[in-house]
Point group: C2
Chain length 234, copies 2
């Protein structure tokens, strides 16, 4: 059996795993979009759909992890190929957690709707940051598919904007609550929703960092923005 | 070179990696304890120590990940050995995140202290859940060192108690804030601290689930308590 043969078998395995990751990512992205739609319309049915689909996301994580493990055992990859598989295993953990956050949003929307909570708080920042989070997750998956480190570096930068929106919302919420303490209980629900969105952005950022690790072999986690950009663009 | 020789080399590699994980875990546990002490005494110096040591935790994560990857490439393990290394790689991600949460607590304590915020909110639940979180993380590391699935199952159960404390604190906080809206701003700081502790508990639970995966080869994530207990005790 030639090296070439071995290598093309490995490539086929890898393509299969990668396509599953993108499929999982597409589902998680849809979960986030639906959760935001449920929030926008206070729609219990859509919230229920998100809660129901969470199980599929979980199953995909476990399946892909098993597949990664099988490919490593079968093909014994080294260097970049091994890095790719290890990074995939961590990427799907981040995707699953992002899916968890979408479910948490859906559950809170459902409770708020069932309690008949009127929209007492202007949640423009939450909507904006929800759109931003879905968008950078999609771009992280695109960058993963193309192993595009330049796009990955941009995603790390853009996550900061989501964090900013979150902080702006918290500041506004404090003002609202102080002006009208009756909004406190509902306000905290929105706070947790905003926090969930901020975490989705973090997961997208983590995925982007893994892309740079796969391609460059440099672990850019915790390295600060300058190192990360230098690596990504080198 | 005999199989035995290969195997004992692998064991030596594995022991080294495992001992590094325990060392990292010990540091993270210390970070949590220190962060809680900073909170208890409103002590900026201790908070600063936590913030300073965060870098060491990050470096350990990157080092251990690289070591895992090297051992896989060099020894080409299969089955349980490979599972162990993959689970270690995910365990340290959880440890690092738990360390992040300790740092977040320290930063908020520092800000609260610098702003001269008096302790306007009774934080008994936060202190209790902080102790519980440090304790279950320690037990998760012990269970990891002994690959003790029975202890791991108990940790998954105990994490629920931390979640309960968190919810109790949020309910109390809403009452406080409504009674005295001047507590809202400080109250939210405490809310984020409580949330960070709750997440530390989640990370300990994740580590416990990996232990069951390593030993039993069954991925018990998302499987519900019954399946988990059956696997752990089988």
């Amino acid at each position: 059996m030639s090296d070439k043969h071995l290598s093309s078998q490995f490539d086929a395995d890898l393509n299969l795993v990668s396509s599953k990751v993108l499929e999982m990512g597409g589902l998680v992205e849809a979960q986030i979009t639906r959760a935001m739609q449920a929030l926008n319309d206070f729609d219990i049915d859509i919230a229920d759909q998100v809660i129901l689909a969470e199980d599929t996301v979980n199953t995909m994580e476990v399946d892909i992890d098993e597949e990664c493990s099988n490919v490593i055992a079968r093909r014994q990859p080294a260097a970049r190929d091994l890095r790719l598989l290890l990074a995939i295993s961590k990427t799907i953990t981040n995707l699953e957690r992002a899916g968890d956050e979408a479910e948490k949003i859906a559950k809170r929307v459902k409770r708020l709707s069932e309690e008949g909570a009127s929209r007492t708080v202007n949640i423009a920042e939450i909507k904006l940051s929800g759109e931003m989070a879905a968008s950078i997750l999609r771009r992280a998956l695109d960058a993963f598919a193309r192993l595009d480190t330049v796009a990955a570096a941009q995603i790390v930068r853009d996550d900061k904007a989501i964090d900013e929106e979150f902080r702006a919302f918290v500041r506004k919420l404090v003002t609202y609550m102080m002006e009208d303490p009756r909004t406190i209980s509902v306000g905290l629900e929105f706070l947790f929703i905003a926090k969930a969105i901020e975490r989705i952005g973090d997961h997208a950022k983590n995925i982007a960092e893994f892309i740079i690790y796969i391609v460059k072999g440099t672990d850019v986690r915790h390295k600060g923005r300058d190192t990360l950009e230098r690596e990504a663009l080198s």
